[in-house]
Amino acid sequence: MSRILVIADHFEGTLTAATAKAVAGAREIAHEALDVLVLAADGAAIAGEAARLAGVDRVTHLDRAENAHPIAAIAAPQIVAAVTQGHYSHVLAPNTSFGKDMMPRVAALLGVEMVTDLSAVLDTHRFQRPIYAGNALTTVETPPDETLVATVRTASFKPVAADAQADVAARQLDDDIELPTHSRFVGIENHATDRPDLATAKRVVSGGRGVGSAANFDIIREFADSIGAAVGASRAAVDAGYVPNDMQVGQTGKIIAPELYICFGISGAIQHLAGIKDAGTIVAVNADPDAPIFEIADIGLVGDLFEIIPALQSALGASS
């Protein structure tokens, strides 16, 4: 039977929602144990959060000053030691910037290949994943005699409930592993807002080049706020400097699966569509009736976003 270890993704002392989705993916693999590992400077509180995730058997936290910020070269040898010592058959992390940076290094140290962006579990060693910007799905079979290393596509799994209570233990590695000093954290510039998190929001409103300017983007933000949505953008809007890059939705940005996705002034390049294909309902507003976004949209409206947004806002205000 499989023994699964999920590596927790956390930020500023809080477990990310992506971790609960990775656990959801892990739960679909038949297993005898599903544990979570937290690497942090002081991981007790984060481990406490992880212990509430339904389906988790045991949480361990490995506290070292070097783990204050996730650095792949420093964390990977510790994860490998935990995997080897715990005899895990599967080691998973969410396909976030953390998981994408970390897990290939873990796989290389274990001497195994890896599955990126696992989107469906077919069996303990059979998985599906998207390729070519989500335009194809492949089924991959992995050898049962080697450790399976994978990142889990967060848009494909609903987060598990946080109503359980697993055991939590602080952990020491059996041997004091020497950690490299060649990589150092300098700083972070984070564009935190009070708005819902783009990756996990139930509603997302996004804008593209058609918005026209950074100042005009306020109309997108205001509308998003009025319906409690997160704000996203196309690569064109990011490259034009309207918004920071962490708002980018698409193959090379965030891949999201909100219940409702409303986009304004986005033409719908395949790289953008790759990021929204799993959304529940896609609404597109664009001045160009031939924009490719209308091929994927569930509801399309041709028109000027600067006229439609105010009308939409007042109509929604009236109906709610």
């Binding site: 910020h69 910037s97 873990v106 796989a107 194809a136 300098v186 709610s320």
Partner: protein, 248 residues
């Protein structure tokens, strides 16, 4: 300073791919291929370092069949000093590619090994971090800004929460994100000159690389299509639809 850039031949990003009817994979014959866009950004960065005097030598490497010569010619037209072709007709997994790049790095001893953050065909995004792991080198993935010092590099990384800056000692491995730079258009004289420059050939065997053979692709299928959508002609109709679906 010596910079080694890894490039991959991939189906051009503008091509709408077609999946083989028997589920064996994506149709590649007769389809336009290019350098993977992220690798082109890596090439551009290396050449900029050469132009501003930071780098003395830029070497590009690719792993693949005869057709990959086309991408090596493009690398020469960018201004690479040398190009290496690891010839193989077999599909190469990320781990095999990482083993190959690690072997080449051991031979070439670059100060910086640059890769794209992911290839747009397999969307794996594994090779960079795997190579760094095999070499025991520091890694800075998803770079949107790089400042090279004599023995270290400051790299701004695009992460989910914003921008993170790391300092890594050299030799180190960096993978490029989209916003690092805008690759140049190649000039015809450079393309013509590149046709005459030598390409150094090697093989996995010569490099002592054992191909990884762990994972097997069982089939490739199109994703489930979304049900056809509808057009509405007014904001009121749009709101009515959203109400019907219980979304507002």
């Amino acid at each position: 300073m010596k910079v080694l850039v890894s490039i991959k031949r991939a189906i051009d990003y503008n091509v709408h791919i077609r999946i083989a009817d028997d589920g064996s994979g994506v149709v590649t014959d007769g389809v336009k291929h290019s350098i993977n866009p992220f690798d082109e950004i890596a090439l551009e960065q290396a050449i900029r370092w050469k132009e501003d005097g930071t780098a003395d030598e830029v070497v590009a490497v690719t792993i693949g069949g005869d057709a990959a010569v086309e991408q090596l010619r493009t690398a020469l037209a960018f201004g690479c000093d040398r190009v290496l072709h690891v010839r193989t007709d077999q599909p190469v997994s990320s781990l095999t590619a990482a083993r190959t790049l690690a072997a080449i790095a051991a031979q070439e001893s670059p100060d910086v090994l640059l890769l794209g953050k992911q290839a747009i065909d397999d969307d794996n995004g594994q090779t960079g971090a795997m190579t760094a792991g095999l070499l025991g080198w520091p890694q800075a993935t998803f770079a949107s800004a790089i400042t090279l010092g004599d023995h270290s590099a400051r790299v701004t990384r695009e992460i989910d929460a914003g921008l993170e800056t790391l300092e890594i000692d050299l030799p180190g491995l960096i993978t490029t994100d989209l916003r690092l730079n805008e690759p140049r258009y190649l000039k015809l004289p450079n393309i013509m000159k590149a046709k005459k420059k030598p390409i150094e050939d090697t093989t996995l065997e010569a490099l002592g690389v054992t191909p990884a053979a762990g994972h097997r692709v069982v089939d490739t299928t199109p994703p489930a299509p979304r049900p056809a959508g509808e057009r509405v002609d007014s904001v009121d109709a749009l709101v009515a639809r959203l109400n019907d679906k219980g979304l507002v």
